[in-house]
Amino acid sequence: MAAIISSNTPILIVLVLLFSAYLLPIFSKKRYKIVKWLTVVSESVLVIGGIYLAWKVLTTGQFNYILGGWEPPWGLELTIDPLSVFFIITVGLISLPIAIYSLPNMACQVHGERRAGWFFTLFLLHIAGLCGMAFSRDLFNLYVFIEVTTISAVALVAADNSAASIEAAFKYLIMATLGSGFILAGIGIMYIITGNLNMIFVRRELALVWTDYPHALWIACSFFLVGFGIKSAVFPLHSWLPDAHSAAVTPASALLSGLAVKGFIIGLIKVLYIAIGVDIFTALGISTLLRILGMISLIAGSIFALSQHQLKRRLAFSTIAQLGYVFLGLGIGNEAAISGALFHIISHGLIKSVLFLAAGSIISQSGETEISQLAGIGKKMPYTMGAFTAASLAMIGIPLFSGFVGKWNMILGSLESANWLAAIVIIVGSLLAAGYLLPIVRTAYFETGNTANIKEVSRSQLIPVLVLAAFIIIFGCFPSYILELTRQAATMLLFN
């Protein structure tokens, strides 16, 4: 039994999540308690399995899991390489606390236990989709998982059933489906050129024939860029994100801002770096495009965030800005920058989920959504606000917090490739982050307001936030293991 589990871990991780998702709606009718347990258990399986796989990859190197017994160009395979393992760990570490946070009052937030059961079904499906994307090595398989992730994300936004959330969800659905269309069209062109769908084989074929189809390949690349760009809300294509992430219920916005958008970036990385290959897409000028997109969305997202007065909207815009970092790091495209960008994925995931969960707690306790009305809340909710502060400092990139490590590596990478502008933009971005986050902290702690009836949230909602905040500091002070994973992932992406 143990041998079976250990040799099938990657698929079992996905299957456990999927199976619990299938079972939840059956149980949610009468036995809501089982729903809770199933959610937590499957999330824990994800965390444990992720750590086990990471250990395996770090000790014995990457390996593949062949599905259905058919060799890769014919069948499908899961790939367990540093990149996928890194993202699995990210997903596990972030989604487990979010799930625990959302357990106690989800039935109240989405109006009913049955609906809460559906919410958790979608939650688990979303997680499963992200994991599947990370493991997938087949372009079409990636697409199908992207669809699972997208549809469940839309549903998570709509779960609130308020007018704003339904409208945001529809906007999101239209934009995201447009994005999927672009991705699928890109996959189509790639398939026509190479006759393969497995990324490794696609790259092998492309290396031989790409000079015959440079324009077609360029179009495929830009389709991928547009498609994944819409889904991960890069600047000119971001219009759905602020609405969706601010209108969703708190755990959903934490999950979407913290993980979903990054999942699509992982998809983009896989397509660009594994399926197309760094030489080819750099020759096509795509990495310049990535850099420019990254810089624009960093600056523009930050400036938009500065002009927002609602807490959740400001956080949503800051997601756009922070994803700009990741795009910029990928565009710079050397080892340090890519590993920095990957590290920024996990650190920003932690940071943003803390920020959103803390914001959700604050909003639910005080009933205020405007930043200016939060005065004095730091006194009443010291732990929540403490986590919020830690996350803010991390996002600014203060040393000893996790945000710094990623930024450091990205600046290192940009200066190594003599890209002064990128380094300046990264530093200016963190200043702007200070500009839109520190006023919140200052208002909460150092201004006085009417906070008489506000209390700290219950322990079961507080502990997940604190755990996430602790991870921010732990990864800031001891980033070695994660950094090793991201470094190996970067090496794999660049030199395999």
Binding site: N8, I11, Y22, G68
Partner: protein
């Protein structure tokens, strides 16, 4: 009058629609068609029942609870068949090595787990389309 004609025609037609749906599902291995098309046809048969006779009558034949259960059961069924391979010591979703009887190639009962999976997906698609329709038509 029109109503009566419609009702009697549909009453006659529905068994044939269902039969055709099942035929498409099971014959997917040999001829065009397959689980999705078949399941869709099967489901559309139930929808026709709902449209013509009203939701209450439709619910009698194929209740919402049942549909919801089958929606979950479909993928579980599929996944469990895939797990057989794992229990046999091979990988997930293997067909040939899973130990299921493969049958005579090119006949109706062939391909080991293929027909089982097809049936599962067909039922799932049918129940999905019915649930979908019911959800969309349900009054506020």
């Amino acid at each position: 009058m029109l109503d009566f004609v419609l009702k009697s025609v549909v009453t006659v037609l529905i068994p044939f629609i269902q039969m055709f749906g099942l035929y498409v599902i099971f014959h997917g291995a040999l001829s065009p068609g397959g689980s999705f098309a078949g399941g869709m046809i099967l489901g559309l048969g139930f929808i026709a029942l709902n449209v013509v006779f009203g939701l209450e009558k439709g619910q009698e034949k194929f209740s919402d609870e049942m549909a919801g259960f089958l929606v979950s059961l479909g993928p579980i069924w599929y996944g469990s068949i895939g797990l057989v391979g794992i229990l046999r010591g091979a990988n997930f979703l293997v067909n040939k090595d899973s130990g299921l009887p493969m049958g005579e190639p090119g006949t109706l009962i062939s391909g080991g787990m293929i027909s089982l999976i097809t049936l599962g997906i067909g039922i799932k698609v049918a129940s999905t389309i019915v649930t979908l329709f019911n959800a969309l038509t349900e009054e506020e």
